[in-house]
Structures are given as structure tokens and as C-alpha cells.
Symmetry: C3
Subunit: 503 residues, 3 copies
């Protein structure tokens, strides 16, 4: 029945297309012409994958075209590329526009009904219209999240200790290396996979047999994804396909996809902060679509995007913060991701970092920062001022200074509490109660080592996020200082029993 219906599509969908008010978001019908190629895509895909098509119809991409978008200049501009290829200018940004873009650079390009189509749309494709954002994002540590994890031998050992498959025999546990599917489902879910073409496959479809490329590491929308065109990252990580709604990117749920676990509880902290409270209570009356985003008129409390990424202006149009897809330009400190909090790294690519002991870390194991790879105090000051300019729109200087002094104190004390745990672990290694660096053994695979990991990865991180974003109990009983202090006593307890047993 479905196949018979498909024969009628060219007529049926055209009728439907013309008559239905697909476009409800802006309450205005689509005014943008659709390219013949995209029309052909829709011809089949409205039946084959109706969800994608109808979602796209609600997008800004479906309702305007680059020529129209270019007319919005200054702070209202959303199309940063100075030159957009002529052939794209007068059509809606549709299926064909993105999925055939730079087809010759894409290893995942395949012949699909006469078109050179690729599956994975990448930051390089998006850069055709959004050059500035793509460039900024390439300086964002997130775009390097794959390599920064996979090419760091120490962190790769942590990954194996988590994702490796353990078995028990002869009273011993042994570990089989992790498999690609597990890694893709675990760390690389957020960090991004390496998407590679591994072959092709013939499939039965509603339109007969068709050949498709087979992709390893697919699906994935991780922030540092390695793409088949050689680019890094996924815009879809935050700009959810195919509506690409600014509203989605500006709401905190987007960030929560990766920033919610005990290792990086940013969303959880935000949720219970005063900012999060006001957002949750009143956001129904806010405007999440206007560009620039006007403080006071459009919203009255910040979301993640407001503080970390968005172009903000006041009601007089004065710029409070410039749009940033680098994000770290508003951040003096890196408060999670490594054993100790430290000044932000200079480069987004962290693979060259090495400490004095030769470990691929931006601090020593005892916490001293490896300054040559990190921004200096002056740059920290500058970034702090950029962020504080946002704070100051709603808070007085006393408030803002007090808040930041507290955060800096928290960075210092949580680093101290991590150092204490490190010293206990080192004592365990010294005493032969566990095997670590000196014994050429993994520092992540024993029970006491895992306690140590939780000290910084869970508890110090949570405490710092709570301090940075006013999370209350996330700095105390919800993975905060209660656990920071308890974990030290648990490690000591372990040390005492083990020492006693050994004696």
C-alpha cells in the first residue's frame, strides 16, 4: 500500500506542499523558493523520512534564503560569510544545499539518484554561510575533543580502565581492550567519534535497490567529531537538526546533553541556581529568537548561552558581549577536565602539552601548573573582565567582586583537597599497597586509584561548578565538599586497614 502511494507522490506532495501550512513557527508561510534539487529530495523523503522534512520546514533555513539573510547587517546579521556562492543565494537552505555541499571533499559522498550526496554535514559545509562561527569554533577546545582525549596516552589509559571489558578467573580480574562500539557509546558520545567510510552496502528500499556507504563511528554528534571531509566537530551537537532552532541552542537543555554528569554537573548546578529558577519560572514569556539578544526585553536571567556564547545587547543597543563560538574567551580558568583546576590552555589543541615529569598534563601530579602551555595572568584578567561585563548588567561591583573572590578561593581549596588525595595515593604506591607510576602500572585501574579519580573528577569539579554558578548544595552534600572531605577519610581508612593487614 505504501509503495502504491509512493507512485502518486509527485502529485500528492505538491498538493500538500502548497496547501498545508507547514510553517507554523513564525506564523508566516515560507517565502523562500526551494531549489529544484531540494524539491526532488523532498519528493521522496516526505514519505520516507517525514520527520526530517517537516522539522526542516519549521526552520529558518526553510523560510529565507542567503540573499535575504545578507540584508540583515550589523548586530542583526546571522550570515557571517562575506561571499556566498551565487547559486545558493536565492534558494532556501534545503536538503540538497547542505548534503551536496563540498561533495568532492567528502569521503562519504555517494551517488544517490544522480546526485553526489554525502551523509555527514560538517562545520566546513556550514562555513559556506557561517564562516566566522566555524572559525571561532575551531579555536574552541570542544572542536578538539576527540584528539585531546584519544591522543593523550594518560587519558586513553583512563578510557580503557572504564570501557575495557573485565573478566574474572583464577581469583584475578583481567581486562580486554575496549571495542569501538563501546567507546562510541561512552566517552566519544560527547567527545565525538572518527566517522569513516568502511565500505558500501546494497539495500532494499521503497524505491528499489540502492547503494549506500557504510560508516564506522556513525551515528554521532559529538562536539569534536572527526568528519569524512577531514574537518572537526559537529554543529548539530548544539544546533539540533533539522530545525536548527536558535531557541534550542539558547536554552540550557542543549548544554545538558553533555554537561550534566557528576564529572561536569554544569546543568544540574544551573537548574538549582537563582538564574535557573528564574529561567524555569519565567522563560515562557521570553523571546529566544531575536538577534541580537536584548537583556531585559528578551530575557531577565541568563541561560548557558547568555554567559558563554551569545551576542548580548542592552535596550539601547549597546553591546554587552560579542558572540563567541570559541567560548573560552570568556573563561579565565579551566575548572574541570583535568586533575587540578588551572588557567585555560593557550591552544585548543592540547596534544602537545607535557609536564616536567613527562606526563601529558597541564599541571604536575602535585598540582603546579605548567605555565608555558597556559594563558598568563594578564589574559586571565582580560577574560574575567569579559565575563564580568555580563554579571555587572544585573549585579553591583560588590556583588560581582565578592562572587569571583569566592570562586578563586574555591579553586584554591579544591586543588588542595585534590592534592591531599594525591599524596595519600602516592603513599599507597610508596608502601607497595598499590601499583602506580613508579611501578609502570596504570594509575586508574585499582580500587584506591578510582577513589582518587572521584576526588577530582566528581567532587572537586562539582564544588567548583557550584561555586562558579551558585549551585548551593552541589558545593556541599550533592557531590560537593561533604564528599571531598569524606573521600579523604575513606582513602585513609583503606590505607590503615591495608597497612595493618600487610603487617
Amino acid at each position: 500500500m505504501r509503495k502504491i502511494a509512493l507512485l502518486m507522490i509527485p502529485v500528492v506532495w505538491l498538493m500538500q506542499w502548497v496547501t498545508c501550512d507547514h510553517v507554523t513557527e513564525a506564523k508566516s508561510p515560507s517565502s523562500a523558493a526551494i531549489s529544484p534539487a531540494t524539491e526532488e529530495c523532498i519528493g521522496c523523503h516526505l514519505a520516507v523520512s517525514p520527520g526530517i522534512v517537516t522539522e526542516w520546514e519549521k526552520s529558518r533555513h526553510a523560510q529565507t534564503n542567503p540573499r535575504e539573510a545578507q540584508k540583515k547587517t550589523g548586530l542583526e546579521n546571522k550570515l557571517s560569510s562575506e561571499k556566498v556562492p551565487e547559486k545558493l543565494l536565492d534558494y532556501a537552505v534545503g536538503c540538497s544545499e547542505c548534503h551536496t555541499m563540498n561533495y568532492d571533499k567528502h569521503k562519504d559522498t555517494f551517488d544517490h539518484n544522480g546526485y553526489d550526496v554525502h551523509i555527514v554535514v560538517t562545520p566546513s559545509d556550514c562555513a559556506t554561510c557561517h564562516t566566522t562561527e566555524a572559525k571561532q569554533y575551531s579555536q574552541n577546545m570542544m572542536s578538539h575533543a576527540y584528539g585531546n582525549l584519544v591522543h593523550n596516552s594518560l587519558y586513553q589509559d583512563l578510557v580503557e580502565s572504564v570501557n575495557g571489558i573485565q573478566s574474572f578467573a583464577d581469583m584475578k580480574v583481567s581486562t580486554r581492550p575496549s571495542d569501538p562500539e563501546t567507546n562510541a557509546d561512552s566517552c566519544l558520545f560527547c567527545h565525538g567519534t572518527a566517522v569513516e567510510v568502511t565500505g558500501s552496502v546494497l539495500r532494499e528500499t521503497d524505491f528499489g535497490q540502492m547503494t549506500f556507504p557504510v560508516l564506522a563511528g556513525w551515528p554521532n554528534q559529538g562536539v569534536g567529531r572527526l568528519n569524512p571531509d577531514g574537518s572537526q566537530g559537529s554543529c548539530a551537537a548544539c544546533h539540533a537538526r533539522h530545525q536548527f532552532s536558535l531557541e534550542v541552542a539558547r536554552k540550557p537543555y542543549t548544554c545538558s546533553e553533555c554537561h550534566k554528569g557528576p564529572d561536569v554537573p554544569a546543568y544540574k548546578v544551573y537548574e538549582v541556581s537563582k538564574h535557573g529558577n528564574i529561567y524555569s519560572s519565567l522563560q515562557k514569556d521570553w523571546d529566544f529568537k531575536s538577534v541580537p539578544w536584548t537583556l531585559g526585553r528578551d530575557f531577565t536571567a541568563p541561560t548557558c548561552a547568555a554567559c558563554h556564547a551569545s551576542l548580548l545587547v542592552d535596550e539601547e543597543g549597546a553591546v554587552i558581549a560579542n558572540r563567541s563560538h570559541q567560548m573560552s574567551d570568556r573563561l579565565p580558568w579551566r575548572i574541570f577536565g583535568l586533575i587540578y583546576a588551572h588557567p585555560h590552555p593557550i591552544s585548543a589543541d592540547l596534544t602537545n602539552i607535557k609536564n616536567k615529569a613527562g606526563l601529558p598534563l597541564p599541571t604536575e601530579l602535585t598540582g603546579e601548573p605548567v605555565q608555558e602551555f597556559l594563558i598568563n595572568a594578564e589574559e586571565q584578567q582580560k577574560r574575567q573582565k569579559t565575563m564580568q561585563a555580563i554579571c555587572l548588567t544585573c549585579h553591583g561591583s560588590s556583588w560581582v567582586n565578592g562572587h569571583w573572590a569566592r570562586l578563586e578561593n574555591t579553586i584554591k581549596t579544591t586543588n588542595e583537597m585534590t592534592l591531599t588525595a594525591t599524596r595519600i595515593l602516592m603513599a599507597a604506591w610508596d608502601q607497595g599497597l598499590a601499583k602506580g607510576l613508579g611501578q609502570n602500572d596504570s594509575i586508574f585501574n585499582e580500587a584506591i586509584e578510582k577513589k582518587w579519580v572521584e576526588q577530582w573528577l566528581f567532587y572537586a569539579n562539582s564544588t567548583r561548578f557550584s561555586s562558579a554558578m551558585c549551585g548551593g548544595d552541589y558545593g556541599v552534600f550533592d557531590n560537593g565538599r561533604w564528599f571531598l572531605s569524606k573521600n579523604i577519610r575513606d582513602m585513609m581508612d583503606w590505607l590503615e586497614i591495608r597497612t595493618a593487614v600487610k603487617r
Copy 2:
């Protein structure tokens, strides 16, 4: 003062009833006539329990009647019974209609101002109009949740180890059996209690002395509740009284009532998934009331209901998925609830299941499935296809196949990681460090056994839910693989210390 006011009720409420536009949901005033019996109910209860009455007034039940509902046919139909008793056809579905339905079958029926009223409305009562749904639900494992827990000797032992009251004396802990109130507040809160009439009581009311039945196990809205009419389940578990709003049932908060803890973190995973993000960000613009539910027009990302229960169509009206109150017909695997993930059981009533070792489990303690009680590979394929039909409306085949391959891999590896923990526990039993099956002791009551339980009940479950629904950190640091791997090392650590101490 209240009593004086009550004297004026017959006039006051009538005025109010007639004049107020209570009914806002459908923006049309109530057109359905109210039966004389229900009018009498409202006469007192608008003052005695105004919340129930006003909530009901906002319901579809108050705004239509069965005769009108029958006129909606085909996919729009919401009243599945072919025959509805004549006397019900022309009245709104009100207090009296439900609370006197099948009164002779209800042990909780009592004389209330001349009416045979019962307190607990059951699936058998709802089946008067909603036959198909009630029948499907009886094939849903949830409707058997009481017996599947209470009549499984092994699980009952787990319940006792959790809900029993422990005391300490002479350096030993002893356990008093759990009491009914604790069980009702604990496991049976979601699984459902056995609601039984234990007597009657005379109470002072605003209208003088009245007699009411005394119910054990009340209140409860658990999915597998045993009702005083002999039926199983509670429609109100998901269709919250007394508005019975389709919107509520289709939103994920309903499912979160039972599916949020570390044992079954479905809602937590959904919340931070891309689906959950889009839902949270854009649902304000969606339509949660239309039947059938049209993908793209009514909503652009699935809620729990969309994937597991709802009747979905595309904009052309083609059916994507049929309505299901069985739910398991879209599920090839059972990924939580037992020690190892396994193919779904054939019957929703699990009380006959026994493995080769004689334990009431669908797998051996070492993971091998007991195939005779479980659906075969062909049926698994069929159910997978049913679910994938929904995935494919928004995702290409490469995406969907990649996703499912990853889930199957996760099922395999989490089962392996559970087996490793099981083997460590067995070694502890063998070495006499703990007492288990071989010693005719509970397998849930010692510290090391509780670690083992968390391996499958918390960490393997969380990892699988994360894999199934794209939960990111719930498969890593938020009760995911970090804990799966750490727990094994903790169990080994315990084994080593205990062995050393014993020596």
C-alpha cells in the same frame, strides 16, 4: 462557617456551575448533559472536595459523552468498545458513571446517600468504554507487576532485605520482617498494592455521620495494583485523575513517576538526550491532544509515549505505529528488571518462569537465557522493526542500524560485566567469605552481595538505558561504565582484604 455555607450550596453551586466557564481545555463550553446521579455527587463534592470536581470539569470526560465519542471513527476514535450500555450514551462521563460502574463486582462498594458507590475505579470499569486498551494492558508486564514481584521467592527475598527493619544487639544485626505500610510506600508504590476491604468505619462529615469502607493498601496507583473487583492494574497510574489528560500521558513526566531511579533511569536519560532537549525546548509549541498524533505537525521529537505507546501518523495520515497499551510489542529486549538483559518474556505473567537451577529467573545466574519462556529471534526481529519504523521517520537507515548495533553491543558487554561481578561473588561464597545459595542463605543480605546487586540493578541498567536512548553520561560517569568497572575493582578489593584477614 463552612457548615453554614454548605446550606447554601444547592443554590450557589448551581449558579456557579452554570455560569463559570470551568472548561478551558478545549476552549468550548461543556456541551454534555450531566446525569442526575452525577449532579447529586457534585452537589456536595463541589464543597467537600472542590479540587476533584474542578479538575474533572476540565477533562474530556466532562465535555463529551459516549454517543459523541463514538462518532469519531477510524484513527480518530478514542472509544474502542463496540457497545457501550445505552444508559451511559448521552451523559458526560462523571462521578457516578465510574464510581458506581460494576458495583456488584466491587468489594469496596458501600451505600453512600442511597447509591452503591465504590472507591477504587479499575481497568475493568474503564473497559466499559475502552475495551481494547484494557485488554492490551492486561498483556503488558506492568499489569502483572504486583504478582511478578510478590510471588517470586527470590525477588521477595530482595524486598525483605530492603524493607525489613534491622536492629543491632550483641554485635549482630537481625532483621524484622517488613510491614505492609513500608512495602506500600516502597516497592509496591510503583508495582501496586493489593487493595482489600478490611472493615468499615463511621466518620463525622460535614453532612453528619457516614459509614465508609476501610481499605488496606490504599491509597495506591501502582501499575499492577490488585483491585477490590479482582482486576489488575490502575489506569490512573498514567492517566492522572480526574482530568485524565492525554497531554499528561504523552508528556515524559508521567513515566518519570516510576522510571527515574538508578534502577530504571529512563526519564533521566531521556532528559539529557537530544530528543529530550528538543522536547524541553520546543514542546510549548506542540499539540499533545490531537488523535491520531501527527509527526511533524503536532510534535518534532518523541516523548516516551511516542516511541512506546502512541498511535502515530505522518502528515498524509499514513500510520507509523499503532497505539499499544501492551508496549512490549515494540521491544525486542528486556533491558532492566533482572540480573541480565534478555529477550522479552513471552507472557506478561512471569510467575511460572524457572531456570535450570530451579531459581525463578529468566536466565541462569551466569547469564544464559532460559529460552522456553522468552520470545525467539524472529519475534525479536519483528518487534525491532516495529520500533525502527518510528526511528526511520527522522533518521536514515545508516543512523538507525548504527544505533541498534551499538545497543546490542551494550547489552552483550553489560551482561559480561555483570557476569564478572557474579563470578567474584561466587568465589566469595566458595571461599566461605560470604554465605549464598550453597549455604541456603539470602543472596541479598551481605555487604558484598549488595555490591553485586548494584552492578546489574544500577550500573548495567543505566548503561543500557543510556545506550538505548542516547543518554551520554548515563553510560559513562552517571551510574554508567565508570561504576560498572569500578564496582568490580571494589569487589576484588574486598575479596583480597577478606582473604588476607582470614589467612
Copy 3:
């Protein structure tokens, strides 16, 4: 018929219905005159801190004045002070009105462009218009949250064990006393800091050099804050600046700022309760601004405020519950905050409480309540009835009685499970395996003691909240009974190993 009935409606009622602008807060422009002083504030601050000004413009404070507010009488009244100073009556409640109020009593008052401005607006300032609320709040335990924590020697020891900075040397851990910044960021974040003027500072501003006071303990909005005018508390804890929206205070996110951690998971429990489900699903259609708050018309399921604070009426205008800023007048039991649940304390100031053993606790260490400081059974009954009047608007007596019986049982059993943990700890002290009260040592600083703390602070509390507010898994696997029972076995396991090692 509708129109005829309308004629019969009492005139007052009709007027009210027609004139009430229930939902127009944001849509009507400010009609209130702004005082010259406030105009001067805005003159600079619209540029310097636009967020505050624009947020305030959306507030009721900006749109009306006390004279107008006084005209709303009876249940509609929101300005409880009988006399408001004449000079305030005809101006919007703006910057100057609050920030120069009682300037002579404020140690943080400073000369700011010729005005005596203070930074911290306090309950004493708000009391100018809201006398009743300020007075009720002074009887709320929250307003004493600073002293109740800081002046309790036992609790202060707990604070130090959490916030003190630990270091490791010579195989031993030592602890440095906590610093003020850490305390302000930790326990005092919610409890409130002591805000004190410690000096003054000259700052460069957009308007030249200016002098500002330097405040210790700032920023803070904790519920028991000690203010520079000698008052206690912060209205802004719940009534978020500067919109002071009733909608925010009535939504559960406000309470979640402090009541979300494992020590007091009220919001988490609410979120997954049936009440929370209905709220999350349907609140978009509710009215959170009308005063009084009408059950059924304005909302159909309770938020935190509905049960604990708000003035509730039914559609006839009959009062269901009076407004309460004391809150404990609806609570017979204190189910968190101390080692054992117990009847509510008589006084909100707990600093005089002492048990027979001389500890500053409302129960003995073995659970017996110290009755002289606690409300008696009669008062408990009265408070229970006050709360149940709210329950009964939507639930029958059988339901309500069953629910409360279950809660009382949970209070009893969780206290028993805490006692068991206490007895194990006492045995550890007796056996010399840990140092406690008898050894004049902290009872919070050793590993086994911290396990004991979690028994009551996390698991017993969570189980009770779940029981009180129908939280399902929060009473079982989400920090509930699973952990209550497991923790006892873990403590026993520790006791056994330690005893064996010592031997």
C-alpha cells in the same frame, strides 16, 4: 441560561470577576508615578546595570503604588501593613524606596550621589509594607538558619569536618579550620551569611571615582542571613530580585535552590510525584499571579507553595488555607535537619535546645525526643489538620488517612534504622575502633562516622520526604530504603574487618 444565572450572582462577586486582571502583569504599561529619587537612580543605572532596571520594570512594584495596593482588601490584599508612610503612598516601589529605607539603621549605608543608600535590603525594610509576612517569617525556622547552625557546637563541628581543609603528611591527615569564603559558599549559601561592613573602597566608575562600603559575607541570599541593620533573613531568597514575581515564588524551582540535595531532596521527590507530573505537564495553562490562589480555577495540582505557604481558596471563595510565612504551622513533624525525625520545635530559635546528655540536640543520641522543646501531640494534631484540609480538597478521607498513616510509619521505621546505625557506631567507639563522644573526639571526622551521618542525613531524610510527598523511588533505590539497609551492612562489614584486623 448562562445569562440568566449571571444576574443572580452577588454584585461583589461579579465585579471581582469582571475587573480582575488575572493575567495581565506583563502586558500593561507601568501606570505608577516614579519618585524623583528613583528617577535619578534609573538615570544612571539604566546604563550601568540595565538588567536590574528592566527586570524591575516588569515587577508589580513598578506598576502600582502602595495607595493603590491598599485598595485591595480582604483576601485580595497583598500589602499587610496598616500604615504605610505617607511619602511612599503615591510612588512606585522603586530603587530609592527600598535602598534608602531605614537608612539610619543600616551599617551598610553610604553616601551615593547625595543619597543615603544601603546595599542590602532586609526583611525589616520590606516590613514597611509587608508587616505580617515579615513577622510570620521571623517565626519561621528558616529566619534563624544562621544561628541555629553556627551557634550549635555539635553542628559547627560537622561544618568544620566538611569545610575544613585537610592535608596529608607523615601518613596522617590534619585539618585546617574552614575559611569564611568556603563557609559562605557551602553551608551558609542557604543558611545565610553574616553580612558585615569591614571598610570602604574607592572605585573607578563610569561616572568617576566613588566610595563604596566593603562587605564581608556578600553576596548572599540565604534564608537566615544576618543583615547590617541587625535583622535576620532575606526575602530575596524566595522572592527573586528585582521582579519579585509571585509566579516565581509559587513555582517549585524557587524551593529547589536549597531543597534539592540528598540531605533534603524535597524538589527531587516533588518532581517525580503525581503532583509534580501534573504540574510539569499542565502548568502552562495555570495562573500563578492571582491573589487569593483559587484551587481548580488557577491550578489543579499543588506546588510547594500551595501546601506550605499560600493563601488558598475554592471557587466559592471559601478559605482552604491561610497564607503562612511561618510554614511550620502546617507541619506536625520535623522530618529532616536532625539525626532523628521528631515533633516540630516550639521556638524557631533552636540555640537553647539541650538533651539529657548535654548535647545541643532535640533528641537523645538514641532517638528519644526532648519533649520540653518540642510541640505536644495536641499541637501536632492541629497542624496536621491544617495541612490535611489542603489534601482533602482533592482526596477523600480514606486516601488522606491512609497516606498519613504511612508517613507516620515511615517516621518510626527510619528512626529505627538510624538507631541501628547509631548503635553500630557506639559499638565501634566502645571497641576502640573509632574515637567518639567518650573519647572527647569529633563524632563526624572518621570514615565510619561519615557512614553514620549518611544514614540519617541522606537515606532516612530521603525516605521520609518520599513518604511525605509520594516520591516512589526516592523511598527505595534513589537514596531510600535500599541505602538505609545497605549502609547498615556496610557499617557491619567495616566493624567485622576492623575487629578481625585488630585481633
